[in-house]
Symmetry: C2
Subunit: 408 residues, 2 copies
């Protein structure tokens, strides 16, 4: 390739001159970093913030993992890439379907474009659910910690990851699942020095542990050590997050839940409206499928504005928007959200029916995300960013722009 | 008195039939209770919430101690009682003056009215700065932990508080200062059984310790034990707070401060505008006089709306209002606030000039209050409240209404 620039989803990027690592730390509310740095748990980050750039950015709402990871790797909001949750209500078939399949993706990723431009690219995710979406159309290495024992050259662009990393396959519910991502990233950089690497962790720790607590600080100390190793190898590092994280409990310590399907059933009759929780996925033990975002399909003939206004009155609701309002404000694909979008407040989550949520797996007071209260995320680069207008609004999906256009 | 009702500041209250205790826990963000209950640290509160009433209320903005304590004891917002901060800029003299003197109070307290109606009333505060305001015009017992060794029958309505409580005078910077309030309350109830008691603590612990941490849980376990004793003596107990509390730090762990006097000086010239921080008081070691609320006096001739709009653009600002807007929205006395009122976001505080804040006393990452992000407070009653419309908006200054009109 003679060109030194790429144009992906209407944004221009320079090609990397140094190994560039974008890290998406799942559920990394900035206060995790603040409390850990303040108490001496992240010496590398403290130095990186002093010598580099520490910005606060806004993630995509719904503040969930998949929409935000796809935004980061496409440099675009869900209105462009199409992934607006883990779950989608397929109105044609009347069924709820997972959005893990790349067929739902409407835009190319920057990772695929970089590989196409001749750059070596490696992607490591914690859970396998993200891997196929992130790696779509991409030549290079792409695997998950979760299925690190099942990699093949054909499917993942690499063999014997367990041999490379020197660790066993971690449990899907563990801090180790994320540590494996960092450990693999360091080994890949040591052995293959990819031009671009994307590392994406899981928020198992953040769902259980608040900023400044021992459990959280231990995780961030672990992370800090690996990032220091990548930095020492000369990498440009951008650290961002898919979303923040907040306690979601009532004063009695139980989850503070608005059971929205029950609310609509009591108002309109059973199963007339359909409440969709796009946080739902096969791994719900740590949050019980409870987040601060829901979309609602109303029966035909419903006065949508009247329903919106009525729902907005509910205590604990931060914002209730019509489809058009939500599509505009949150940059969502209008054809993949319901007639209403409901966002609950900082301490409140939205459920469907009380009977449909199994909260028996919650062994700590609920912490979750999904709403506007979890939109604030770090956007940290271990380099100064000369020429950058720091007064502009930053998004987590500006990560590659900062890395490639300002930090090299 | 033949009447069984009182009318104070345009609200009607029944006289208490049982000993009634209103507790204002300084800086008690509801999550402190949630995390402590969830982890078994508050067995009394867990029971009280199950058998009584657990509401969430909104405090007065600025979410500071004095305006809210005065609202609770007058049942009215600052537009009625006049106390809108610790500090006031006296435009007549061009000086900043403390608002601790009862001369600033514009409304009678419910405590004074209850005493006038023949009920025995006792007030215990942590810091002495509040005592004179709370006890204004009131016959009965009124003293502070801070000056518990200096009480006189004439000034405080009681002698030998140290002998009664059996504890030494606590340090003004300690959890003991608040424990003394509870211990005194229990002893007063055991020995004198006042009809009405108002207990008000200090937020020394909350400024240092986040919800769910060891330091916070120890405080709430202590409190739970004393409240259990008051409950066992048959008291109606209302637990509320003057304001919440949030971490106020940047990702490097230092306070995230907008130095607003510096900002105005750079724009309008040195000392043309005057920034007032109503959180300022003689006890600033634990927060460095940094909170999320400021008022600003602009030089005459300034286009106020233009200044408002310009300041609203600053990153970290949640709301900037003109005097009239702030007086209406926050129910503040228009003659005691500046031309602008500025409220910063959850993680951000407002300072005057960097050179005027001594942060050397901060021995933990800054936690503070003052803004809309600290407006959510508990309003808990250890009784069911039959007939109460629980969908209405609750304020912390509804505490006596719930206690006297619904819980007896």
């Amino acid at each position: 390739m003679a060109s030194t620039e790429l144009n992906v989803n209407a944004r221009r990027y320079k090609l990397p001159a140094q190994p560039t690592v974008v890290v998406c730390v799942d559920g990394c509310e900035p206060d995790y970093l603040a409390q850990a740095v303040a108490t001496g748990h992240m010496p590398w980050l403290k130095r990186a913030l002093a010598q580099g750039s520490g910005l606060i950015a806004e993630c995509v709402v719904p503040s969930f993992t998949n929409p935000n990871n796809l935004s980061i790797v496409t440099g675009a909001p869900p209105s462009v890439h199409g992934i607006c949750g883990n779950y989608l209500f397929d109105t044609a078939s009347g069924t709820e379907v997972m959005m893990n399949d790349p067929k739902w993706l409407r835009a190319p990723t920057l990772l695929a474009a970089l590989a196409e431009a001749g750059k070596s690219v490696a992607v490591v995710t914690a859970k396998d659910k993200l891997r196929r979406l992130l790696g779509h159309g991409m030549k290079g290495i792409c695997f998950s910690s979760e299925k690190s024992d099942q990699v093949t050259l054909e499917e993942n662009g690499i063999e014997d990851v367990l041999g490379l990393v020197g660790k066993p396959v971690p449990s899907v519910y563990s801090a180790d699942l994320s540590e494996f991502v960092f450990a693999a990233g360091v080994k890949l950089m040591q052995t293959r020095r990819p031009d671009v690497m994307y590392l994406s962790t899981t928020d198992y720790v953040q769902h259980k542990h608040a900023p400044g607590t021992e459990g959280a600080n231990a995780f961030y100390t672990m992370m800090d050590g690996y990032l220091a190793q990548l930095d020492a190898m000369g990498c440009v590092i951008v650290l961002t997050a898919d979303h923040g994280m907040n306690a979601k409990v009532a004063m009695d310590g139980t989850p503070d839940v608005i059971y929205l399907q029950d609310w609509f059933d009591a108002w309109l009759g059973a199963a007339q409206a359909r409440v969709i929780l796009p946080i739902t996925d096969p791994y719900v033990v740590h949050h019980g499928a409870l987040g601060s975002f829901a979309t609602v399909y109303l029966p035909s003939g419903t006065d949508v504005e009247a329903a919106r206004s009525r729902l907005q009155q509910l205590k604990g609701m931060e914002a209730v928007l019509t489809r058009a309002q939500a599509a505009e404000r949150f940059e969502l694909p209008a054809d993949r959200i319901g007639d209403l979008v409901a966002v609950s407040e900082r301490f409140t989550v939205i459920g469907t029916s009380a009977s449909r949520h199994d909260l028996s797996g919650l062994d700590a007071p609920l912490r979750s995300h999904g709403g506007l209260s979890e939109q604030r995320v770090p956007l940290i680069v271990n380099r100064p960013l000369p020429g950058l207008d720091t007064t502009r609004r930053f998004r987590n999906f500006d990560a590659f722009e900062l890395a490639l256009n300002y930090a090299q």
